[in-house]
Symmetry: C2
Subunit: 225 residues, 2 copies
């Protein structure tokens, strides 16, 4: 079975990488900096996007792509209600976004008016790590109630990140979460990664994240001019 | 690309179903009732297994298979420390367990001495729903901090369940979780599914779950004699 399976998977991956490069070129042509937001289900991807919009949308023009496995529109609806253009992408049960889905979504966004694109991947700590989308950076949202052992259990996704957000720090008093162990796992896999402990519920830590993202966006759009 | 891809995927699924049927036959031959425990990363699969062992292992002889994407043994170590035989299975980055991994793990367990097998799948709400393992029932552990919208976003995994556990109810006062909305989503997809709100931290609700599982185990092992 392996003789049949491996080459096909490789061909699909290569096709994805090609479309991913096209997406990257397209986004840079428009001077758009883009991030791929990954997380477990329920870690707070949409909440983080809404909090980021609240802090940045008056200073940076944004667009959002919302990925889900099911035919739902609730996340894109929330983003649009916050005044930011959003496209909902349905993977039809698939466990990750891929570059072709992003290419299709890009054609529905007002790229000429945007400087920052936030992509919300499917909630999953495994599959999204293997499929490039053409975005500039990968960001993971971990969350306190998931537990401090997740870097050790899902190392592939922690390895390639440019930023790590730890959400739900307001729950630290109510759960057992060993911050030293979590940081130890992260440093082992990805030394020096930008780290933002936040609470999307209370707002704690989110200004630092938004400032960092604004700064990276300005660097990114300058360098791609 | 689709003309190449679909038949290969179908063939792999069929091969998995065949091994899954072999696993089921093997387990029933030994009079073992088995459950496939699925959840998001960090929802509390291992905690639930340990709490189940604490309540049932004196009445029902058990074994555990622990699935992880990485080469770690911490979960199996915890189960063995609790006095129950356990095998750690590594998917080498794969996003779900499959029937062949279970077949291999079964050969390392003392089947003749067991009546109940708990299988902990990889933390993922998408991929595990598509691969049968040969277990008797599928159980999902949702958790309060994930949010009440998960049935709407990950419908495939909610549809096939025989039991649903909602863990971390001790966090209900500290997060926004609309229980009515959650139940509405579950009922829409899986009407009448056995439902156990629990806290693996405080122990609340776990006796009901353990009693139900013991009862199902006794029915299951009788019917397969």
């Amino acid at each position: 079975m392996k003789e049949i399976r491996v080459p096909v998977v490789e061909r699909i991956l290569n096709a994805n990488d090609q479309v991913s490069e096209q997406n990257r070129g397209w986004l840079h042509k428009f001077g758009i900096f883009s991030i791929n937001l990954m997380a477990s289900p329920g870690a707070g991807k949409t909440s983080l996007i809404l909090q980021t919009i609240a802090r940045l949308s008056s200073r940076v023009s944004m667009g959002v792509i919302e990925g889900d496995t099911a035919r739902v529109t609730m996340d894109a609806d929330k983003v649009r209600q916050a005044g930011v253009p959003a496209v909902q992408v349905n993977t039809a049960g698939g466990c990750h976004l891929d570059a072709a889905l992003i290419a299709s979504a890009l054609s529905q966004l007002p790229l000429a008016e945007m400087h920052l694109l936030l992509v919300e991947n499917v909630g999953n700590l495994v599959c999204p790590a293997s499929f490039r989308l053409g975005t500039d950076i990968d960001v993971l949202i971990a969350s306190v109630p998931e537990g401090d052992d997740k870097p050790f259990k899902y190392p592939a996704i922690y390895r390639g990140l440019q930023a790590l957000i730890l959400n739900k720090i307001d729950l630290l008093p109510y759960v057992s979460f060993d911050m030293d162990n979590f940081r130890k796992g992260v440093e082992m896999l990805n030394p020096g990664v930008a780290f933002f402990p936040v609470s999307c519920r209370t707002g704690e830590g989110l200004d630092s994240w938004a400032d960092w993202l604004e700064s990276r966006t300005r660097q990114g759009t300058q360098s791609s001019d």
